[in-house]
Structure formats: C-alpha cells, structure tokens
C-alpha cells in the first residue's frame, strides 16, 4: 500500500482477518514518510508482515520511477527503524530452500542444516557431514522474493509502457468494471514477463504492447489457483496457489460509473504454505496506489 493510502487499503484488506493495531499504523505512517525522504524513493509501499516466533518483521519496498525495476526491500521489527535488505540472488534462494518451519524473528539467527558433501582427499572420496549455516536474513530475502514472483498482481491497465522503456503508472486508469474484475485475464503478474515470449503470433496480435507487457494470470498452473471472491462490496482475489494461500489481492470493485478504486492490494494474509516456511503475511499492497475516491470505496 502506498504510504499515502495506507489506512484505506488496510480497511479493504481486512477480510482475511489480519490487520494492524492502531499504534503500528500510526508509526508506519510516520516512518514510511521518513524512509521516502531519506532514500529518495519515488514511492514507498508497505509490503506486509511476516510473523515470527519471537518477533514479527514488517517489510516495506521502495520504488523508483520505473515501476518494473527491481525494488529495494527494507525491514523493521518495530515499524520505526528500517534497515535495507540485500537483493535476492539465486544462490540465496537455493540455499534457504532447505529451511523449513517458522521464522524466528531474529535476523541474526542462524539455521543449521546438515548436508552431505563429497570431499576429495587425494584419491579418497568420502562423504562428510557438513553443517551449513543459513542466516535468517537470507531466508527472509529469498522468501520475500518468492512471494513477489508468485503472487504479486496488478490489474490490467494500471501500468503502461512507453517506447522509451520505463513503465509508468497510468493516471487515467479508472479501475476495472464489475464484469472485468471477475475475470482472471484482467490481472497480471507484477514482474518481468516470463511466458510472454512463448505466446504464438496469433495471440500476440491481440495484445496491446503498451498495456499487455506482463504475464496474465489466466494461464497459471494449477488452474483455479486463483479465485475471485466477493467480499463486502469488493472483490478479493485470493490466491491459493502455489503456496501462498490467502494472499489477498484486493481490487475493489469499481462500478462502471464510479472511478478509481482499483487498488491492487496484495494482501498475503494467513499461513502461507509454500514448500518452505510458513510466514504469516499481512495484508498490504505493494504495487498500486489506491486512489481514494469515497464513491468508489464503500
């Protein structure tokens, strides 16, 4: 959620049962403003919350002008002081994939994992047990990255691409109409397209290059992993797929006549059950502003 419209998005995303207490909200509003000033981000978004045993992590992301560029991730334990996380690499992801269970809540905590490694000593080859230490920070980074890649979505038309390259927020986007909001094809994954180039020429001919430059949700496997759930006056897209059940993206309904809302809030809430851990993620919406129009928000 954009720092400007944090409160509204939290309200919209509350259907999943996760929320923020008032003190947290207040501190978030203040500290996110400061982060934006200090790091000179174009937009700062509150990504969510990962629950740990001892403490919870609050995650925020900063965006630059180009919306699709890699985002900087920050974390905080108390919503007031934020620290930058290193960007995710493949190595990190592979390494932390072996860790299972909950997050501890302490970023310096180290998980121990014993591996069998082949060690060459001269002519002998034998397997030795090696204890690998994985830092929780690494795990955090890789989990956030995985969630983003799998579950971050954005409605079609919210971003557009110019011939110069950078992706911009579409100021004329008025939200999805009711019939469009029900269809999976009107949502995209908010990341660099992976499957776009595999499409046939026929399919590509139907696409509009300025709007359709990301993967659509339609062709995700397993089918039916996303569902559009009608909440109170709004549509929540719940993704029960790969592993992040209850990550909610709330695109509030826009009636054809009303403006805006579209808010694509990514609200992962609840126990995600990916192949790894069970972070509890909070409702949040990283990617799209929620323009406040009271008419559009019931």
């Amino acid at each position: 959620m954009d720092a400007d419209s944090l409160l509204l998005s939290l309200e919209l995303a509350s259907g999943s049962g996760q929320g923020l207490s008032p003190d947290r909200r207040a501190s978030l509003l203040t500290s996110l403003m400061l982060v934006k000033r200090d790091y000179r981000y174009d937009r700062v978004l509150f990504w969510g919350r990962i629950l740990g045993l001892v403490a919870d992590y609050y995650i925020a992301q900063g965006l630059s002008e180009d919306q699709l560029a890699p985002r900087k991730t920050l974390y905080s334990l108390n919503c007031t002081e934020w620290s930058l996380l290193p960007p995710a690499t493949e190595e990190m992801v592979a390494q932390s994939s072996v860790v299972k269970g909950r997050f501890m809540g302490d970023p310096s905590y180290e998980y121990e994992h014993t591996e069998l490694q082949k060690v060459n000593e001269g002519e002998k080859v034998f397997e030795e047990e090696v204890v690998v230490q994985i830092k929780e920070e690494t795990r955090l980074v890789s989990v956030i990255d995985q969630i983003d890649k799998a579950v971050a979505i954005i409605p079609r038309g919210a971003l557009f691409k110019t011939p110069f390259g950078p992706t911009h927020v579409n100021r004329t986007f008025e939200g999805l109409s009711l019939s469009e909001a029900k269809k999976l094809s009107s949502y995209f994954h908010f990341r660099e397209p992976v499957e776009l180039k595999n499409k046939t020429l026929l399919e590509k001919a139907d696409l509009d290059p300025s709007l359709d430059f990301m993967d659509s949700l339609e062709h995700d496997i397993p089918k039916g992993s996303e569902a559009v759930v009608q909440g109170d006056f709004m549509w929540l897209l719940s993704r029960c797929g790969f592993g992040w059940p209850c990550s909610w993206d709330s695109c509030s309904v826009s009636m054809r006549v009303l403006e805006y809302p579209d808010g694509e809030g990514q609200c992962p809430g609840g126990a995600a059950q990916p192949a790894l851990a069970g972070p509890h993620l909070l409702p949040c919406s990283p990617h799209q502003d929620l323009w406040l129009h009271l008419r559009g928000h019931w």
Partner: protein
C-alpha cells in the same frame, strides 16, 4: 394493379365497377331501409358498367326490377348451386392483392357470369356489406351478412376442419399484404365463430417468435407501423425497406438515455438490500419502546464490538463495519432461534465465499426435536444393515458354489457423542455474509473427525459441495466444516488460568478410565492475571475445551464392546468372529491443562504470546497466537478474555501436504496348489510314471497272491 390478370378485361374494368359499387354500398349502408328505392338508381348505374364489362353481364344488365324482386327466392337456389363459385369471381372484383386467387379453374369463368349477376342482384336488393371488405380502410373483419356464403367457401377452401378457414400460405400474398400494410386477411367471408378463430389463428401465427431472436413478426410489424405513424415520412413506400431495417436494428440496440444512468449492477445492490434489513429494528412504534426496555437487560448476543476492539489492538480481526454487521447478524440469529448462549466463533475463509461461524447453545430441551429425527434415520439404517447381514449369511449357506468370503470386515462404527457433550457440546450456525440466513451445521461424528485429520481441502463456501478426497470423507462440505471447527475448538480455545474451575462434586476423582471431568464453571473469584505475567509464561493459560482423542471422540468408547442389540446377533456370528482384540484405551490430556504442556512442533513452541503494544504496557492486552492452527488468537485483559479464529481452517505443517496413497492392491485369492500353474508332464515322464505304477502294482499283486495263497492254503485246510 399492374399485375397480369388472367382476365385482363375484367379486372381493369371492374375496379371502376367496384368503386361505384362501393360508393353505392356506402349509400346503401346509409339507408338500407330504402332498399327498393335505391334499386332504380343502381339499376341505372350498373347497366352502363355492365355493358362495359363482360358481355355476359350485359345480358343480365337489363334485368328489370321485377325480375330482381323475384330473384331473391331463386337467389338462394342459385347460391346453393354456385355459392362456391362466387368466391373467385368476387375476387376478380377485388384489388390486385387477390390476384393469385384468380388461378381458379376455368370452369369458374363461366360461373363468373352468374356470380356477377348475383352480385348485381345483391346490390339491387340492398343487401349490405357485400363489398365491405373491399374497402381498404376497413380493418375489422366483416361482421357478417355474407355469412351465408361461408359454408360453401369453407368447404371449398378450408382444410376440412370446421374451425374456420386457414391462411393461405402464399408468399405472394404475404408480400402484397405487408407492402400495403394490411393485416393479413384470413379469408374473405368467414362466419363469426370461425372468423374469430381465424383471426386468432392469424394472430397466433404472427406472434410466433423467430428462431434467431425473441422478436415475432407481429411485434416487428407493430414497431414498424408505429414508427411510420410517428415519423410520417413523405413517401413511406419507397423508404419502407430501410425503415424495416432500422426497426430491426433498434430492437437489439436500445437507445441509452444519455441523461440518466443505467441501473447499476445487481449483486451488490441485492446484498445491500439484505443488509439493510439487518439495520431495521424488529417491531415498530409502541412495541419498539417496550422492546427497548427488555433489551437493555440480558441478551445472549455477545458484545462483539468490544471483542473486536480488543482484537484490533492485537492486530487481528475484521474491519469495524464488518464487525458491526456481524453483530447485527447474530442479533438476528438470536431472535430466530431459541438460544441460551451465543458467541462469535470466527470466520473461515473459502475460495468462493467465506463462512461466519457462531457458536451457540440452545435452551434446555429445544433442540431435541431435531435430533430425534436424525437419530431415527440412523437407527433405521442400522437395522437395515443387520438384516442385510443375516440374509447374506443364509444365502451363502444355501449356495452350492461358495464364493470365498472376504476376510476384511469394516471397522466398527464408533458412535457419535451426545449433544451437549464432548465435541458436540455446542451447536454451530454458519452464514456466508451478514444478512444471509443462518444455516445450522449437523453434529460431528468421530469418523468424520478421523478422516478430516487425513485430508486437507480448501473450503469453497457452499455447504453442499462434495468433498472428494482419499481417504474418502464421509459427508459433504458441511460435515467437513463442522469437523474442522471441532478440531480447532479443541485445540485452540484457551482462557487464563483460574477463569474456569471445576465444579465441586464428590466422586469426581473416582471416575475411571481417564474420563476426567468434562464440565467446568466460571470462577466467581477470578481476579485476573496481570498482562505481563500472561505474556511471560504459558502456564497461565489453560485449554477449556476437551481434547479430541485419536478415536474422534472426547470420551473413549470401546468399539468392540457389544451393546445389547449386538449381543443377540453376536451368537449367530460367532463362527465368523475373529479373536477378541485388545484395544487400548485412549487417553488425552484432561480438561483445563495449561498450554505449557502442549506438544511442540519441530522443536518450536506451539504458542506465541505478545503484548499488543510494547510502547504502553500498562494498557495493552496480552495476545496469544497459535502456531499449530494459524489464525487462532486469544486475548486477555483484566477479567476479560476471548478467542477467535480467522483463517482457512487448516492445521500448520512444516512440510507440504501429501495426500495419502491408496492402499496396496489386495490379493484376490490365496494361491494354493490347485490353482498354481505348472507345466504339463511330458510324454516321457508320463510313461515313466506309468511304468513305475505298474511295477508297484505288480509288486503288490504278488504280495497279495502270496497272501491269498497262504490264505487259500489255510482255508483249504
């Protein structure tokens, strides 16, 4: 009128005659009483026409009036002869739309003379409305002076039915009539009842809807004519085609009023309507005031807003307007059902819709009526089953060819717990949205709980969805939901230590078998535990719901213990019985166990505690979160506490869920020598065997002979 008439002379000339006859007709209709007086006029008028017309006519043209007067009598006779013939000739006098009917027989040509004379006579005799229908502006069916002719015409032209002549299915006719905008004529001269029938038939035919759309020809024509009459274009006939197209197009593209918005989408409005009903108070006016006084007292509806506030402090829960709506929905539930206590249990999220769950306890004696019905059904089922078993046994004894009996016996059914005890202590009502009606969930059976532990399915939001899984779940989504609610309640309902205490009764501790105590009551002396202590140690929290044993119940029941009914059958089945199995009694932690005793998951604590706000500990709330059932929370502050569950309804497991594999394929039959495959003995083997047998035989014979000889010797002696 430029069509090719078969009788070129007449049609061209007859219209004038027709017109005059029409004119005369009009005059006639004015004063029919003066029939005779009029005749002379016509007599004078017609002959000149007749002269112009067919020569045959001219023959009659000079009919005198006297003859005319005589004609009526003979008229009928002639009619009888050639009533039918009149039809085509009358048509010849009609406008070109009836031209096709001139394809009449040539024989009628001759009759035409007679018929024209008849027409003439009729005119002269002042019979009205012969030609009424010729009048193009005349829309109504002719009422009926021409009824006399009907009989003959129906014979001629109807399809044999008495109910009125049918429309001729002639494309040219249709073309003509539509062009001139005339309604289709059913027939020229039908009788009143057949006439009306004919009209109805015609209208029904026109009202048939086309295959492609909902539009019928009738409607389309109505639209078209209305449009023409409204717009009054200059030369409607020439623009008719385009008008037709436009009318058709407009049917499918209704004009949107640019000044007014279309009515908005339905579903959210419907929802709003239902929820509005929640907000209106029941009863009105004076009754409302009385209710006000009563309501101030005790109601079973819990203070959901307060609970929601505390949970919000903890960072859990639904938004405040949703909480308020839930409160109103529960109030509605309380009004509808005889409820003693009520609590908002939580929300279970589903793929398509979510469930709001209310935990409810009925007043004494209220729910037994419904329970009895269910029990009767199940008992009936059991009786049926036992009968089935007996019959099966008898059949098997009779059958000569004994099919090997399957060794597998279904495990004995564990009886479900009584209402108001164990897992069925409370009743649960669910609804999808506040405002929708509440549905009651059935009681849970141990088999359902046992199976629910093995599967993991997301809820769809519709209670009657079947649960497809392996091992097969006995029931549909309502049962699965109830089973999960039972498990979650048993696992996560906690309260601060000391809030509940056991009721003091003697003999409690003497109960055997770990049945333990299953009831508790509120402790009136509860002082409240300081929040910091609650957060520090898990021993300050206790479970106040009974643990569910692996069997699926809270109190253990020996499944092999035969009840009275079964004992009778047991004697018959003794031979089939297996040896008595020793079943261990299952024991679970007793009620009011502190949370510190809970088992760990993978070396991680099963519960997490937090203070809601670290910045102001004196006012904050202690929050306990379950790691085993993600979504289960409890808060405590002072003397208040509450539990809630908002989540997907699944247990947490570090590994992903692997559904159980199906059982290995069973062996069909035990293998023994008689069904084992062996290769047939070869010829050499057989011969060798035979030789060996002969040798053996020979040896025994010698022995026998030897014996016999001995015997023989003995007997001889």
């Amino acid at each position: 009128m430029g069509d090719l008439p078969p009788y070129p002379e007449r049609p061209a000339q007859q219209p004038p005659g027709r017109r005059t006859s029409q004119a005369s007709q009009r005059r006639r209709s004015r004063d029919q009483a003066q029939a005779l007086a009029v005749d002379p006029e016509e007599g004078q008028q017609i002959p000149p026409d007749a002269q112009r017309n067919a020569p045959g006519w001219s023959q009659r043209g000079s009919l005198s009036q006297q003859e005319n007067l005589l004609m009526p009598q003979a008229f009928q006779a002639e009619e009888a002869r050639m009533g039918g013939m009149e039809y085509p000739s009358m048509n010849t006098g009609f406008p070109s739309e009836f031209q096709p009917q001139l394809y009449s027989d040539e024989s009628r040509m001759q009759a035409a003379e007679l018929t024209t004379s008849l027409m003439l006579q009729r005119l002269q005799q002042g019979q009205s409305s012969l030609f009424q229908q010729l009048d193009p502006t005349f829309q109504e069916p002719p009422v009926n002076p021409l009824g006399q002719f009907d009989l003959y015409q129906t014979d001629q032209f109807s399809e044999g039915a008495q109910h009125g002549p049918y429309i001729r299915d002639d494309p040219a006719l249709q073309f003509l009539s539509s062009e001139l905008g005339f309604p289709r004529y059913s027939a020229q001269v039908p009788e009143p009842e057949p006439l009306e029938l004919a009209v109805q038939n015609a209208k029904a035919y026109l009202l048939q809807t086309s295959i492609n759309c909902d539009l019928s020809l009738y409607e389309h024509l109505v639209n078209l004519l209305t449009k023409i009459l409204n717009q009054r274009p200059e030369d409607p006939l020439s623009v008719l085609e385009s008008l037709n197209r436009t009318t058709q197009w407009e049917w499918f593209h209704p004009k949107l009023d640019t000044l007014r918005d279309d009515p908005e989408m339905q579903p959210t409005y419907k929802m709003a309507e239902k929820q509005k009903a929640l907000f209106t108070r029941s009863g009105g006016g004076a009754e409302g005031e009385q209710e006000m006084e009563e309501e101030v007292g005790e109601t079973p509806v819990p203070n959901i807003m307060e609970t929601a506030f505390y949970f919000q402090q903890a960072g859990v829960g639904l938004s405040s307007d949703e909480s308020f709506r839930i409160f109103l929905a529960m109030k509605q539930l309380v009004e509808q059902q005889p409820i003693h206590t009520c609590r908002f249990w939580g929300k279970i999220l589903g793929i398509k819709r979510s469930y709001l769950v209310a935990e409810v306890e009925f007043r004494e004696g209220e729910e037994e009526a419904e329970e009895e019905e269910v029990e009767e059904m199940t008992e009936g089922g059991e009786v049926m089953e036992t009968h089935g078993e007996e019959e099966g046994e008898e059949d098997e004894e009779k059958a000569v060819d004994i099919v090997p009996k399957p060794v597998w016996k279904p495990p004995p059914v564990i009886p479900k717990e009584e209402s108001r005890s164990g897992a069925n202590k409370y009743l649960y009502f669910v609804c999808n949205e506040p405002g929708l009606p509440w549905t009651r969930l059935p009681h849970v059976t141990p088999a359902q709980i046992v199976n629910a532990r093995k599967i993991r399915k997301f809820f769809t939001g519709y209670l009657d969805t079947p649960v497809v899984s392996y091992p097969p779940f006995p029931g549909n989504e309502a049962n699965y939901l109830r089973a999960q609610i039972a498990r979650i309640s048993a696992g996560t309902q906690v309260s601060p230590l000391g809030f509940y205490q056991f009721s003091e009764e003697e003999g409690d501790e003497e109960e055997e078998g770990g049945a333990g105590r299953d009831s508790y009551e509120e402790n009136p002396d509860f002082e409240g535990i300081p929040v910091l202590e609650l957060v520090d140690s898990m021993a300050n929290w206790v479970h106040h719901t009974q643990h569910i044993l692996p069997q699926g119940r809270c109190t253990w029941v020996n499944p092999l213990q035969k009840t009275e009914e079964e004992e009778d059958l047991g004697e018959e089945e003794e031979k089939v019985d297996e040896g008595p199995e020793e079943v261990e009694q299952e024991v679970g932690p007793p009620l009011l166990t502190p949370l510190s005793e809970d088992a760990e998951i993978m070396h991680l604590a099963p519960w997490t505690t937090r203070l809601s706000c670290s910045l102001c500990p004196q006012y904050s709330v202690a929050v306990v979160r379950s790691n085993l059932w993600p979504g289960a929370y409890a808060y405590a502050s002072g003397k208040k506490f509450e539990n809630i569950y908002i989540g997907w309804g699944h247990k947490y497991s570090p590994e992903s869920f692997n559904p159980a594999l199906p059982a290995p394929i069973q062996q069909e039959y035990p293998s023994g020598p008689e069904i084992m495959e062996m290769s047939d003995p070869t010829v050499e083997e057989e011969q060798a065997l035979k030789a060996a047998q002969e040798q053996a035989l020979g040896a025994t014979e010698e022995e026998e002979e030897g014996e016999e000889e001995e015997e023989g010797e003995e007997t001889d002696d």
